[in-house]
């Protein structure tokens, strides 16, 4: 048990609220229990708190004035700078002031600043297309350092903005990071190059993918609901995506791959603009463009050709259907059907 209370404020701007919705589904333990165990006191959260209107505004004013201690400030959703740099696409209700300016003040008043989700971290989906709202992240615009606060920003606690990337974030990416921050256990060495917590970005979505055997033999899916590997044709980039989605499952037993659709690398700072259709693999001369990053391309091509030549019929067939048609066999496995037939004859 932590004895000192850690004050947390959570605000939303240019996003969908999906990271909060995901967080509310935290399990074992549930969100309220997790926060209590970590000694975190919710000063305010948009989905949970009672305070509304002027009550919230005066809380924000007290924090900015230094009258209320703020240990962790979480932002969900991008910072909205438009139109023409004015920030007027999101004025905080009642305040006649762009939300961007409130966010800036609060970041400078907080001990730790956390960007929850890709929008707050890098701009995310809100910055897609021509970025009509001029959205950016707290410390990044897509892959470029800068964002609202600038690349040099360090919060009072000594860390840059902690970017819990993802679209949405897994509830436990958030609860683990907040708990570690509250306990003073999160240091720079636990963040990767995009300031994402390495606790989940040292893994790849490929790890634990239930389609690994199809991947090994390049037995590929061709259409939605097929069982095969989705890398070759359907845009899956789980081999390059930094996240533990297939070892830390979603909503009980799920993940994108388990749900039958490709990984679109939603923890990457620029995932929202892949430059091609999300669910079609771009290819040059029939070879997928995006191959595993730390493997020589020639080796990959050679291994794939070998693997394809050796693909068992079982995988070739199952890859193109939505349920297992040919089950794996064990040598010398007796046939239950034959045995029962024999029994009935007696």
């Amino acid at each position: 048990m932590v004895t000192d209370t850690v004050n947390l404020l959570w605000l939303q701007s240019g996003g969908c609220g999906g990271c909060s919705m995901s967080l509310l589904a935290a399990e074992a333990p549930d969100l309220v229990t997790t926060l209590k165990a970590a000694g975190i006191n919710l000063l305010w959260h948009p989905s949970l708190s009672e305070a509304c209107g002027g009550e919230l505004l005066s809380l924000l004013q007290r924090i900015v004035a230094g009258e209320q201690r703020l240990d962790i400030f979480c932002l969900e959703g991008a910072v909205i700078q438009g139109p023409n740099g004015s920030g007027l696409f999101h004025k905080l209700a009642r305040s006649e002031r762009p939300m961007r300016d409130w966010i800036d003040d609060l970041c400078r008043a907080a001990t730790h600043v956390v960007a929850v989700g890709n929008c707050a971290a890098y701009g995310g989906i809100t910055a897609a297309g021509g970025n009509p709202s001029e959205a950016c992240g707290l410390q990044y615009s897509e892959k470029s350092c800068g964002g609202l606060l600038g690349g040099e920003f360090l919060a009072a606690g000594g860390l840059p903005v902690v970017n819990i990337a993802g679209c949405p974030t897994h509830p436990n990416w958030v609860t683990d990071t907040l708990s570690q921050l509250a306990a003073g256990e999160l240091g720079l060495e636990q963040l990767d190059g995009f300031e994402r917590p390495r606790s989940y970005t040292d893994h790849l979505v490929h790890h634990g993918c239930p389609r690994n055997e199809y991947y090994e033999y390049k037995a590929s899916a061709e259409k939605p609901s097929d069982l095969g590997c989705m890398m070759e044709h359907m845009g899956c980039i789980g081999t390059q995506a930094h996240a533990d989605c297939n070892t830390r499952l979603w909503n009980g037993a799920g993940s994108c791959l388990r749900g039958g659709y490709p990984c679109i690398n939603c923890t990457a700072p620029d995932f929202h603009e892949p430059g091609h259709s999300f669910t079609l693999t771009p290819k040059v001369a029939g070879i997928p463009v995006g191959l595993p990053t730390d493997m020589p391309k020639a080796w990959f091509v050679a291994l794939s050709a070998l693997a394809k030549a050796a693909t068992p019929d079982r995988l070739r067939r199952n890859a193109l259907v939505d349920h297992i048609e040919i089950a794996p066999q064990t040598k010398g496995e007796p046939s239950l059907e034959n045995r029962l037939r024999g029994k009935h004859k007696k």
Partner: protein, 496 residues
């Protein structure tokens, strides 16, 4: 525009996104109201030029609480464009995924968004306050502890059927991407049984069948009187509604609309909940045609347009130049009229006898909106049980999709909060135009060129202020909060 000083309410929490309401107060009553949607992100602009199927990645991310609804609307529009239809399993699975989100949202709304306002200190002197505050106080009340785990376990259906929630790509124009085997189906039925138990024990204190069978005001009163309020959260709410006259609060135009939802897997021309318009003042049920829908931008921060446009011809070009504007939200109208949408509208259009009787007696109001949502939970869980049981392992879940390079299509469905429609046109395989009208776009629309207010703007008129609220500008009037939240607004969908 009125020149009288306006009182500002908001930012509202326990709604999705940011919301401001401007009030003109006369004495202890709200005389007029203006609803401001203060955030613009520009999804309709973002989607332009994208490959058509990429809409399925972008649109769920309009909203984290209506994510599946946005996916279903988009998949339906793309199916409409291509002429593809899902197989029986695909339709059943899609219904289950959507129902999972819609009911989780109803539950979240009741326990986390709506009820905590009754635990406010302003009610401290009321005889019921102690029990209600202990149960429903934000974060600290016992209800939050009960509901979060129940909601999370119910959402395990998403893990099985859709990979994750929110923001799944499992919903495709031709069906769903995750074929269910017989052990998955067994597990789904177990999850549904667990959720049913929670509802029957905690929310209703009675069987779902008995709730669904309530057929009149008298039946509801008799049911409520069987046990004391503490017996279940629904009874507690009905008792509060009685004490605080919630049936006299927040009446809008009494014009209700539903696009219909949950297609019959065998006959897709039929839906579990019908489409239509219900005129509550006349008691008339009218047919709905999508060509009667337009959006007006006379009071929106949008580039001026000579007249309201059907969404196929809709333009989204933000501009601060409109001096009449006060919201980023457009004003959708059906046959020129503003409409109320949501669970109440859905159950009225579908002629549920309890809701028809309640509305005949007191119109659309705070109490009736909540009753309709809770009733719908009971109705839909029973359907989910039968959809899950009807899934046929080893039969297909997804049909192939030949998407044309040119054409247009629309997808209309019901999200938890009401009618959601997508209209898109495609040129050379890319999105040429994509227009979205979300439920709260209807409910929280600003005025139109004729000065006609949106549903919430009208519902707030005559809202009472308590004595301690009249001179205290920091305190948002609690009646205003009840009315606003009775619509279960989703502001991120509203403007998108």
């Amino acid at each position: 525009m009125s020149s009288k000083p306006r009182r500002i309410a908001g930012p509202f929490n326990r709604v999705e996104g940011d919301l401001e309401v401007q009030l003109e107060v006369e004495g202890d009553r709200v005389a007029r109201a203006w609803v401001v949607s203060p955030l613009y992100r520009g999804f309709e602009q973002i989607l332009q030029g994208k490959p058509a199927l990429d809409a399925l990645v972008y649109v769920p991310r309009i909203c984290g609480i209506c994510s599946v609804a946005q996916s279903v609307a988009s998949a339906t529009a793309l199916a409409n464009l291509s002429g593809v239809a899902p197989p029986v399993n695909g339709q059943l699975a899609s219904n289950l995924i959507l129902a999972n989100e819609n009911l989780a949202d109803h539950l979240t709304h009741f326990y986390l968004f709506f009820m905590p306002d009754f635990a406010r200190a302003t009610y401290q002197q009321e005889p019921w306050y102690g029990a209600v505050a202990a149960r429903f106080q934000a974060v600290a009340g016992t209800a939050t502890r009960d509901v979060l785990p129940a909601r999370a376990q119910f959402l395990h259906l998403m893990g099985l059927l859709a990979g994750k929630w929110p923001h799944s790509l499992a919903l495709q124009p031709g069906g769903t991407t995750r074929a269910i085997d017989s052990s998955d189906r067994t597990r789904m039925l177990g999850i549904l049984f667990g959720f049913r138990q929670f509802l029957e024990r905690v929310l209703f204190g009675d069987s779902l069948e008995n709730i669904a069978a309530l057929s009149s005001v008298t039946a509801l009163q008799n049911w409520c009187a069987q046990w004391p309020p503490q017996h279940s959260d629904f009874r507690q709410f009905l008792e509060l509604a009685e004490q605080l006259h919630l049936h006299k609060l927040g009446r809008a135009q009494d014009r209700f609309m539903s696009y219909g939802v949950y297609s019959d897997a065998a006959d897709r021309s039929r839906t579990l909940f019908d489409a239509g318009v219900f005129d509550g003042k006349q008691g008339l049920l009218l047919p709905l045609d999508q060509s009667d829908i337009v959006e007006d931008v006379s009071h929106s921060w949008m580039q001026n347009q000579p007249q309201a446009a059907h969404p196929y011809d809709g333009v989204t070009q933000p501009s601060l130049d409109n001096s009449d504007a006060y919201s980023w939200c457009k004003s959708p109208r059906w046959q020129g009229q503003s409409m109320e949408v949501g669970a109440l509208a859905r159950q009225l259009v579908n002629r549920h006898p309890l809701m028809v009787d309640l509305v005949a007696e007191s119109g659309g109001n705070v109490r009736n909106r909540i009753v309709a949502r809770l009733l719908e939970i009971a109705l839909v869980v029973m359907e989910m049980e039968s959809w899950a049981g009807a899934l046929q392992p080893k039969e297909p879940f997804c049909n192939q999709l030949p998407l044309p390079e040119e054409g247009r299509g629309f997808g209309m469905m019901e999200a938890a909060r009401g009618s959601l429609g997508h209209w898109l046109s495609v040129k050379r395989g890319r999105i040429a135009n994509y227009q979205i009208i979300a439920p709260t776009t209807w409910n929280f629309s600003p005025r139109d060129a004729g000065g006609q207010p949106g549903a919430l703007e009208l519902a707030l008129e005559q809202a009472p202020l308590r004595a301690d609220e009249i001179d205290n500008m920091e305190k948002d009037p609690v009646a205003v909060q009840h009315i606003v939240r009775s619509f279960d607004p989703c502001m991120v969908c509203t403007v998108h």
